[in-house]
Symmetry: C2
Subunit: 354 residues, 2 copies
């Protein structure tokens, strides 16, 4: 573990000054061909590896992008992270990552760790973009950032958006999805959601559900809010399906939830979509591996990551007109939602659930 070579060592061996070494390594200005060759040769023979600490301390930027996400082992965030990482590599940037574990209270610490590294900017998802001490801090300090998945203000009027973000329009997307359920004959549609506190997206999707129901003159219900990582949702589902206003279709606020619900319905002896239709939201790849495949509203997750990098680099470069990007959502029809033609009588369903 001998000491590692520095510009000084390279300069000495190549018979030039450290400044020249720096110039050659960074190809920052014209040097004589012969000199450059000598430097490269020396660098190679010494196994020279520029120390980014030194460089970054001196320069005003670090070519590092900080990424703060609720979880890394979640299909949506993992795919987004991969998109970010790929785009960062293409732009010669490195990625420092920190997860906040879906705990709003640890967002502060997570972001601080990244800022101490003097990242050039941040790509992040917060629990609630409308009320976030972290975002306020970033704004106050003028630190470039781009939100992913968070939508600062929901709605169709894009002029109400303020903070830079890349996401789908959650309200519209949810509305379109519920509209689809209505179009295929469902009238009793309930929403199953994760904890609202942890996700403004969930709340926006609920608003979309409500709007779609209202638009169609149907009655919307309070959502069934489930704890984040519920191992077993059978109890809650049973209650829901035995209630008087029994749903024929369930709109789950994300795919993970939808898949859990489908499994638990199956364990309760109910068939999807024969007894109940279920749709998700996200469009994670694994949804296509199920049989039947999950009907869901797709977000272009990897694109969100890639585009966030583009936007962030523009903001870092001084661009100021950062229009939030609303990416298109697309319905992916699988087999978990089917046309409702009243083929399952409530009494029949009730018997199954006994």
């Amino acid at each position: 573990m001998g000491k590692v070579a520095t510009v000084k060592d390279v300069a000495l061996l190549a018979g030039v000054s450290v400044a020249t070494v720096s110039r050659v390594v960074n190809s920052t200005c014209v040097v004589r061909r012969q000199t450059a060759d000598a430097v490269f040769a020396a660098a190679k023979s010494l196994g020279f590896r520029p120390n980014l600490m030194g460089r970054n301390l001196r320069s005003t930027h670090t070519r590092t992008i900080g990424v703060m996400l609720p979880m890394l082992n979640h299909p949506v965030f993992a795919e987004c992270l991969q998109g970010i990482e790929t785009a960062a590599q293409e732009n010669n940037h490195v990625v420092a990552v920190s997860s906040s574990g879906y705990r709003p209270e640890s967002e502060e610490r997570s972001s601080e760790v990244l800022l101490q590294q003097r990242v050039d900017g941040l790509i992040l998802t917060v629990a609630d973009a409308a009320c976030s001490p972290v975002l306020d801090k970033l704004d106050a300090e003028g630190i470039p950032y781009v939100l992913v998945f968070n939508q600062v203000a929901a709605g169709t009027n894009s002029s109400t958006y303020t903070r830079p973000s890349v996401c789908v329009d959650n309200l519209l997307a949810a509305r379109d999805l519920v509209k689809y359920l209505i179009e295929i004959g469902h009238t009793d549609i309930h929403m199953v959601a994760g904890q609202f506190r942890q996700s403004d997206r969930s709340r926006q999707r609920f608003a979309g559900y409500r709007d779609a129901m209202n638009d169609a003159g149907l009655v919307w219900r309070a959502p069934l809010e489930l704890p984040f990582n519920t191992a077993d949702t059978r109890g809650e589902l049973k209650d829901l399906l035995q209630a008087k206003n029994r749903p024929t279709a369930l709109f789950c606020s994300n795919d993970q939830l939808a898949m859990t619900v489908i499994r638990d319905l199956y364990l309760l002896g109910l068939r999807v979509p024969e007894d109940v239709s279920v749709v998700g939201f996200d469009g994670v790849q694994v949804g296509q591996w199920m049989t039947p495949a999950l009907t869901t509203m797709m977000q272009p997750t990897a694109d969100i990551g890639r585009i966030a990098v583009d936007h962030l680099l523009q903001i870092i470069a001084g661009e100021r007109n950062t229009v939030p990007a609303l990416l298109p959502h697309t319905l992916r029809e699988g087999g978990t939602a089917q046309r409702y033609v009243s083929q399952v009588s409530p009494s029949n369903l009730k018997r199954k659930l006994q």
Copy 2:
């Protein structure tokens, strides 16, 4: 975007020297209570955020762990990364991440980027641990690292392992899994694998399959090797199932593959497990959401990440007796493999496939 406060600013405001500020911030040695309070107050009022570049340049370590994985949007690696990140946070370390995209040739570049950041050590998965220029480099330069998932030498004799790693014994685990299939009556078992070039794990699992077949006096077959991200495996599967030595059970080298295969069998009109049994390897969470749930050999994926951090920190601290950790694998019985009692006649199956 005013200039950010430095130790100098804090020192000035607190009326002490920069050395004292450093001492207080790092609680590195005893300072008078009163002095410390003054420094904290000044730091707080200035919004002081220590610059890790400065600190790391001066110190010999950076408290940064480099992570290089084939992909980040893959359930296994994503969960491992989450485990790493959590453990790193607990130990006051930060994580820099880089994906090699399953391309052996880009491992060199990915690792170099991390090393330029002067990470204290690396946690990584390479395409082939037995033949890896990157690992050779790390060894030569004495840079601490811990492999995850890679197993340097397969087999039961733990004395043959050389490089520090955390993983399950792929050969043994695969053997146990195939043994299980044999125990429930299968004799015609084929293996479906991803590209061997990209994964030494796949090759080791194949060896386990072969051993189990040999041990039982059964005939093993060459594996069906599928390209990594095959959208559609129907063609290959059809050929396989129409062949003379038709398998009654398929051992897939990972869960992702297993789920794709199950879906495609379904599309071909075949039922799992009624017509063919299928098992996977990894134990990803989504496998439990399928109906029937995937029968698979579980790796303790998140633990692998956590333990890798522990080992790496020990190696960084100078520990030299780094016994590779072989973590236990456990069979998770789902519903995709069932006892084989010859209830499906080959001719019947053949008809289905027409």
